[in-house]
């Protein structure tokens, strides 16, 4: 007979018992929401401070599982190394795969984590844990990094959405990644040239009419607000002004406004366009952008696929990093290149590599991260982490710290205090400056 399995995985978990006791002593009878009130006050102050610091996050999701051996952690000349070689980079002593020649020249901006072990070989669950920093469970949902970033970093006064996922064709819809933070922080999916849905005024409405109807709306609200004014009515009224601002700024979502030379430098392919879009969005102050590059799930012909895919990636990504650095944006932007997991050191019968989460790599750059650093090490054949092992929880903390967010804080939701990152994990302080 097995022990009942504990799957609640609630946000409260991982905090120590002492903390429970302290919390319960500090005001059980008074009810959680008073504590929540204070929490939200302090949180508000912190968030304001952050918003003024103007930090951003961009995530490159290498969908399917990028092979660490063909990218960040090559093992040439070993039985698991495969045919690819390694090349020196702009950081003396650091070598990466020869499939990434342009990225190698930007290595001095980057911070490489070579000791990732997430112990999760399923695509769905792997994606979930890398983006939320926690393992998936049926009974609780956690917000993704994008939703957290939108909540903590986005300055609503800019009139731009805070959480954008760039896809090749632009979904246009809203995702559901925000969990308890609420749909406000869910992602908006964008393509290369299309603005978010409903940002274009219907043809039937001329400018005069548009101006007039909003004028009417303002006037009526004014009358009502003098009689009854609450946080709800304020927020609601404000959302229409935000919408108008977003309409004014919809050019932000159109990369055809970028110069032709830039479009060439990034590449004419989907991924190049997405990277350019990401740069444009970040420059305009969007707090979170996710770009997906698909597909790295190379159970067959791992090497041929990686040569093709990484060829695209290398050009656009290296350009992107160099541009960010040139424009001084790298200081304010955390760049993360992640997958759901890595690929097996063992090469299978079909010249493929399978799912491998025990020892793989994640690339980060920018923000408060150390530059040109390499953290963690795998053994000679890349089968195990021998030094500096980290997992999704630690990485999630590190992402937040890298943009100046105190990852140990909680967010008050409906009178309950929810830690923004798994309290059982801690940031990787060694790579943070």
């Amino acid at each position: 007979m097995t022990i009942a399995h504990y799957a609640c995985g609630t946000p409260e978990h991982g905090s120590s018992r002492r903390r429970f006791l302290r919390q319960s002593l500090s005001g059980l009878a008074a009810g959680g929401s008073i504590a929540g009130g204070l929490g939200s006050l302090t949180f508000g102050a912190v968030a304001e401070q952050l918003k003024s610091q103007d930090m951003r996050i961009v995530v490159f999701n290498m969908h399917g599982g990028l092979s660490q051996l063909e990218s960040w952690d090559p093992k040439p000349g070993t039985k698991t190394g495969g045919p690819c070689r390694s090349i020196p980079t702009s950081v003396p002593g650091t070598h990466i795969s020869d499939l990434l020649p342009n990225t190698a020249k930007q290595m001095h901006h980057l911070c490489l984590m070579r000791g990732v072990n997430t112990a999760e070989d399923d695509h769905g669950k792997g994606t979930y844990l890398m983006l939320t920093g926690r393992r998936q469970s049926a009974a609780a949902e956690y917000p993704q990094i994008g939703a957290v970033a939108a909540r903590m970093l986005n300055d609503e006064n800019r009139g731009l959405p805070g959480h954008i996922v760039v896809t090749p064709n632009g979904g246009g819809g809203k995702g559901n990644e925000a969990a308890y933070l609420g749909p406000k922080y869910s992602s908006i999916s964008l393509g290369g040239t299309k603005p978010p849905p409903n940002t274009t005024k219907p043809d039937a409405i001329n400018d005069e009419s548009e101006a007039r109807r909003h004028e009417f709306r303002r006037h009526i609200n004014q009358e009502f607000l003098t009689r009854r004014r609450t946080a709800i009515t304020d927020a609601y009224t404000h959302s229409y002004e935000q919408a108008l601002r977003l309409m004014e700024r919809k050019d932000v979502f159109d990369i055809s406004k970028e110069s032709v030379s830039d479009q060439d430098r990034y590449g004419k392919h989907d991924f190049g366009r997405q990277c350019l879009m990401a740069r444009r969005l970040l420059e305009n102050g969007v707090s979170f952008v996710q770009v997906t590059h698909s597909n790295y799930d190379t159970h067959n012909e791992n090497f041929i696929f990686h040569i093709e895919q990484l060829g695209e990636f290398d050009q656009s990504f290296a350009t992107f990093v160099a541009d960010l650095a040139d424009r001084g944006l790298l200081e304010k932007t955390l760049v993360v290149v992640l997958s759901e997991f890595g690929r097996t050191p063992n090469i299978n019968l079909y010249y493929g590599r399978d799912h491998w989460s025990k020892a793989w790599s994640v690339l980060m750059a920018g923000g408060k991260l150390a530059r040109g650093a390499v953290f963690g090490k795998t053994n000679d054949e890349g089968t195990e982490v021998v030094d500096g092992q980290v997992d999704h929880g630690a990485l999630f903390h590190t992402y937040l710290r890298a943009v100046g967010v105190d990852s140990s804080q909680s967010i008050a939701v409906d009178g309950r205090e929810l830690p923004i990152a798994d309290p059982a994990a801690a940031p990787i302080w060694k790579v943070l400056t």
């Binding site: 009942a4 609640c8 059980l28 609420g182 749909p183 009419s209 609200n221 709800i232 959302s239």
Partner: protein
């Protein structure tokens, strides 16, 4: 009432009516149940029960009944509770009618003479009807008034007037129908002056087709929390919910169907959705059973006692989990209409064992628990050996791959808890209904019922719960009563909001203020003693609870030990069972071999006989036949020879089988022995549990009473400190204005003084000027005097010279004349000198006088300047004090605002009254569709379509017509559902969230402005509000139409004027302008929130 009827019937020894609950199909538990609860009528309509009823249980029950002297009937044709609920009294009459037929059928019971029985029945009916009518009339009259008498009135002096009529109707319409009233309805309501207007309108909305849709929407969101349709079709789900609402199925029945429905075929697939859409995850299901049906979210007690809630123990969570821990997804197959094979996941239950669990804080200490619903006591499964735990026959219409249900179903046993017997269950629903009408629960969050978060008004929750139970869990009755209460109508219209608008300072007339103050302090004082007493009694209760818990835990521990013993023996039993199965199979095989051989031999012998007969008939020398006979014979002999061996093998197999059977039975009896031991422990545990549950509920009660009074005290203190803060604001304001006054005074005095000084300075200047003129004059006179003197001197010298000359020259004549002239001149000069001297004297005097004046003036100036300085300083000081006073006032206003906010927050938490809240996505969508006439057009179209398909007769009844209207509305809503889904995707909190929290985002605004059809809907239609405005020549009437249709009120004077101007200036753009106006009102803040 029902119990009363039962007692009456028992007293008359006519019938003891038994209705059996689904969980009790297990026969021995049934008998114990009959003993215990036989006098209660438990409604049920559960096919599970009907399917599983073992035939022997019937006779057992009847025999048992006879032994107790009862006549037991009615368990096969059960009185459906919802019929009882709907038909009210007639159901009871039906009961009595049945009773007569029973009387004839049951043997062994002497029927009274028919006339007697009839009279008796009649008398009973009359008495019953009389009491029932009185009781129900009283019940109905009391809930609405009880609510009013129980709603605390701390704010009485601050309460405003009732909400304006139109806005009240808007709220009622939104609550009961999910949309705003039409202008037509509003006009009718406002014109209605009858005394019973409100109750008639409540009735009217309750019988609106959209009321049913409202309840469908509420049940959907409550049970499934906007989960997507992955396992059950949306259409199927809606059909089910609509049937539930149409049949006026009581809430307890709905709950029972949700939990107790069958899972092995497709007949109750919709009811299973609660489990299915939670992906069959037992933890998610257990959490949500706790949340939805018992108002307790015990998720956090899964791995340890709840860290923040004392009352949620880990063992409670696992007690709840026990009901579903043995259920999981199973894939089954079925043939669809086309005959193709389809796969389907079902949430099937298997035989359960109590799984051990441990606290993460005390690893290694294992616990087990039986089933325990929140607010109930622990119960244990009857023990069966592992080979006897499942039904042997497959269930009717069971799908391929569905395991047979276990003999004892834990899930079905939960059904018994979903009734009035479990107070937590009933309170959960009454709280949810209150929240549905009022926007917030008396216990809030709705799923956090525990003693440290007691209802803000326990008596009110009690009254509501009693009313809900009395009504037979009828949602409609309770909602109606809440709507009829004054509390509902006063709602959010409290002066507290007015205060917020005007500023946070309470400003009452002095007399009221004093009353309010003394009232508050007397209330507080009255609470002081009870508070102390409650605190101590809560402590005492807690200690008792702790004692009970420790002894209960020690028995629990014993049970855990017996359990592990049982576990071990069960393992051994299973081994033996395997062996016995193998032996049994070997035996069956041997038996088959033997019987095969025997029949072979027999057949061969018969064949050889037949061949012999054939040989006699045919040619004698048929060699082939001879050969055949020989072969057959030899084969038959061969077969015969194997038989003894086979017989021996069979005998061996039989022995082996019997041995194994014996050892299995021995093991079984050992198992049963341990089970009996377990049962003994469980019986003791029952006793300990009773004590524990009682102590616990005592503590819960004491604690929650204490917390309530404490909260109440804090509440009063908060109001008091708000009042004090308001007072201090006002006194500081007074001081401030005094300071301003005195500062003004100082300033005036200073100004006067300054003016005076300036005057004096002017005078001094004048005096100085005059003095210098006099000095000049004096100087001139002195000069003159000097001249005169020198002239005189000259003259005198001349005179003396003349004298000398006269003496010398004797010509005196002319000299004398000359001398005379000189003498005269001297004299006149002397005179002049004297005159000058006198003048000089007078000038000197004048000079002295002037100097004096100047001196005095100068000294006065100095004085005045001093005074000025002082006055100026004083003025400065007073100005400073004005500033600081103003600062104090500002600070105290802030303090006051904080005090008010804390009162406000507490009030909002307390949820006595409806608070300002946003419309739900569905309300928002339907209201817009209503206003723009899209909804009505759809309903009309659907009606026309229905009429075309099946015309209603001209003389059709009102009921038929209303059914048709219902049907048309439903079809229209289904057509419009994509729009509602869009609104839900934009405005709701998303899947799995317990409630829709308000948030505003630009994509909502963009949707309203540019996307969707909202702007297009508001274009001019033949008879919609935009069309009416365009057609209306009188701008003020048009404004009124606009505001009444959209905001259910008349425009204010400003608004009326403004609209009038806009429309009169619109000219030929009037249609566009009208459309824009309608859109702007649809997107206004006022439209977004409840009135």
């Amino acid at each position: 009432m029902r119990t009363g009827l039962g007692l009456l019937l028992r007293y008359l020894r006519i019938e003891r009516k038994i209705t059996v609950d689904s969980s009790l199909y297990d026969s021995h538990e049934l008998v114990s149940w009959v003993r215990e609860f036989g006098n209660q009528i438990v409604p049920t309509q559960n096919p599970y029960f009907q399917a599983c009823w073992p035939p022997e249980a019937s006779s057992k029950l009847e025999n048992r009944g006879k032994a107790y002297g009862w006549v037991i009937s009615g368990y096969r044709t059960l009185l459906p509770a919802r019929q009882a609920g709907r038909r009210g009294i007639s159901a009871h009459l039906w009961g009595i009618k049945r009773l007569r037929t029973c009387g004839r059928k049951i043997t062994g019971w002497k029927p009274m003479p028919l006339i007697f029985r009839t009279m008796l029945c009649f008398a009973c009916t009359v008495v019953f009807c009389f009491f029932y009518t009185i009781a129900s009339a009283r019940g109905q009259a009391t809930l609405a008034t009880a609510i009013d008498s129980l709603v605390e009135r701390d704010f009485e002096p601050l309460m405003g007037a009732n909400e304006s009529d139109g806005l009240l109707l808007r709220r009622l319409s939104l609550d009961l129908r999910m949309l705003v009233p039409t202008q037509h309805e509003l006009d009718e309501f406002l014109a209605d002056k009858a005394a019973d207007r409100w109750s008639r309108w409540v009735q009217r909305f309750l019988s609106d087709p959209l009321y049913d849709e409202r309840m469908v929407d509420w049940l959907d969101k409550t049970l499934l929390q906007r989960r997507p349709f992955q396992h059950v079709d949306r259409a199927k789900w809606l059909v089910y919910l609509r049937k539930v609402v149409d049949d006026r199925t009581p809430l307890d029945q709905i709950s029972k169907e949700t939990i107790g429905s069958v899972w092995w075929n497709q007949s109750q697939r919709a009811q299973q959705r609660f489990f299915l859409e939670r992906a069959g995850d037992s933890h998610a299901v257990a959490r949500d059973i706790g949340r939805v049906f018992f108002g307790r979210d015990m998720q956090c007690a899964q791995c340890h006692d709840h860290p923040l809630v004392d009352d949620y123990l880990q063992i409670d969570y696992h007690g709840l989990l026990a009901f579903v821990s043995s259920s999981s997804f199973v894939e089954t197959k079925f043939k669809d209409e086309k005959g193709a094979e389809q796969k389907l996941q079902i949430y099937a239950e298997r035989a359960a064992r109590d799984a051990p669990f441990e606290s993460v804080f005390d690893k290694g200490i294992l616990f087990r628990t039986g089933r325990r619903a929140p607010g109930g006591s622990e119960s244990f499964d009857p023990f069966e050996a592992p080979d006897m735990r499942y039904q042997t026959k497959p269930m009717p219409e069971s799908m391929e791959g569905a395991p047979n249900p276990p003999l004892f179903s834990r899930r079905s046993s939960l059904v018994a808890q979903l009734s009035a017997t479990n107070r937590a269950f009933a309170e959960n629903w009454s709280n949810r209904l209150w929240a549905l009408m009022m926007g917030k629960g008396l216990v809030h969050p709705l799923d956090m019922h525990h003693p440290d978060n007691p209802p803000t008004n326990p008596k009110l929750l009690d009254a509501l719960t009693d009313a809900l139970i009395d009504s037979g869990f009828n949602m409609r009755t309770v909602m109606e009563q809440i709507a009829l209460s004054r509390a509902y109508r006063v709602g959010a219209r409290m002066l507290i909001e007015e205060s917020l608008r005007l500023g946070s300072v309470i400003n009452l007339p002095l007399e009221l203020q004093v009353n309010f103050e003394s009232d508050l302090s007397s209330r507080k004082k009255a609470l002081e003693a009870p508070l102390l007493q409650l605190a101590s009694s809560a402590d005492v209760a807690k200690n008792r609870y702790a004692d009970a818990e420790s002894s209960w835990r020690s028995v629990q521990k014993e049970r855990v030990e017996v359990w592990s013993e049982l576990d071990k023996s069960e393992g051994a039993f299973k081994e033996v069972m395997k062996k016995a199965d193998a032996a049994n199979q070997a035996f069956e095989k041997a038996q088959k071999l033997l019987s095969d051989a025997a029949s072979r031999q027999k057949l061969l012998e018969e064949a050889s006989e037949k061949l012999e007969q054939a040989k006699l008939l045919g040619p004698a020398d048929d060699a082939e036949l001879m050969q055949a006979i020989a072969t057959t014979k030899s084969k038959a002999d061969g077969s015969k020879a194997t038989i003894p061996n086979l017989e021996k093998a069979l005998a061996d197999a039989t022995t082996a089988r019997d041995t194994h059977k014996l050892s299995l039975e021995a093991d079984r009896s050992r198992l049963h022995e341990i089970a009996a031991k377990l049962q003994t422990v469980e019986q003791r545990l029952h006793i300990a549990d009773d004590v524990f549950v009682a102590a616990r509920s005592n503590w819960q009660k004491a604690q929650s009473e204490h917390v309530v009074v404490e909260n109440r005290m804090n509440d009063l203190s908060r109001i008091q400190s708000w009042l004090t803060a308001s007072q201090s604001v006002r006194s500081l304001e007074q001081e401030h204005s005094l300071a301003i006054q005195s500062s003004e005074q100082c300033k005036t005095t200073l100004a006067t003084q300054v003016a005076q000084t300036t005057l004096l300075q002017q005078q001094i200047a004048d005096t100085t000027l005059a003095k210098s003129a006099v000095t000049l004059k004096h100087d001139q006179a002195m000069e003159e005097k000097k001249n005169t003197l020198s002239q005189l001197e000259l003259l005198r010298t001349t005179y003396v010279s003349l004298d000398k000359a006269i003496a010398l020259v004797k010509s005196t004549e002319s000299l004398f004349a000359a001398k005379q002239v000189i003498n005269d001149a001297i004299e006149s000069t002397q005179q002049a000198y004297a005159n000058t001297e006198t003048r000089i004297d007078s000038i000197a005097d004048e000079l002295v006088a002037q100097a004096k004046v100047l001196e005095s003036q100068t000294s006065q100036l100095a004085n005045d300047q001093q005074t000025c300085l002082v006055l100026r300083q004083r003025a400065e000081q007073s100005a400073k004090s004005v500033t600081s006073k103003a600062e104090w006032v500002g600070q105290s206003i802030q303090v006051c605002a904080i005090a008010m906010q804390s009162v406000q927050e507490e009030r909002q938490k307390s949820g006595h009254l409806a608070q300002a809240r946003p419309l739900s996505p569905e309300q928002l969508c339907l209201s817009i569709l209503q206003i723009t006439d899209v909804l009505r057009n759809h309903v009309d179209a659907e009606s026309a379509e229905l009429e075309k398909q099946m015309p209603l007769a001209a003389d059709s009844s009102t009921e038929q017509r209303s059914a048709r209207a219902h049907q048309a509305t439903r079809q229209a809503i289904d057509k419009l559902r994509p729009h509602m889904d869009t609104f839900a995707s934009l405005y709701s909190s998303g899947v799995g969230q317990t409630s829709d929290e308000f948030f505003a985002s630009p994509d909502q605004a963009l949707f309203m402005a540019n996307g969707g059809s909202v702007f297009q809907w508001s274009s001019v239609g033949s008879n919609n509000v935009t069309g009416q405005i365009v057609k209306q020549p009188d701008a003020s009437i048009a404004a009124s139409v606009l505001f009444r249709s959209l905001l259910s009120r008349d425009p204010t004077q400003n608004e009326g004027q403004w609209i009038g101007e806009i429309l009169s200036q619109a000219g030929d753009k009037k249609p566009a302008v009208a459309q824009e106006l309608v859109w702007s009102l649809l997107t206004s803040s006022e439209f977004r929130v409840y009135p």
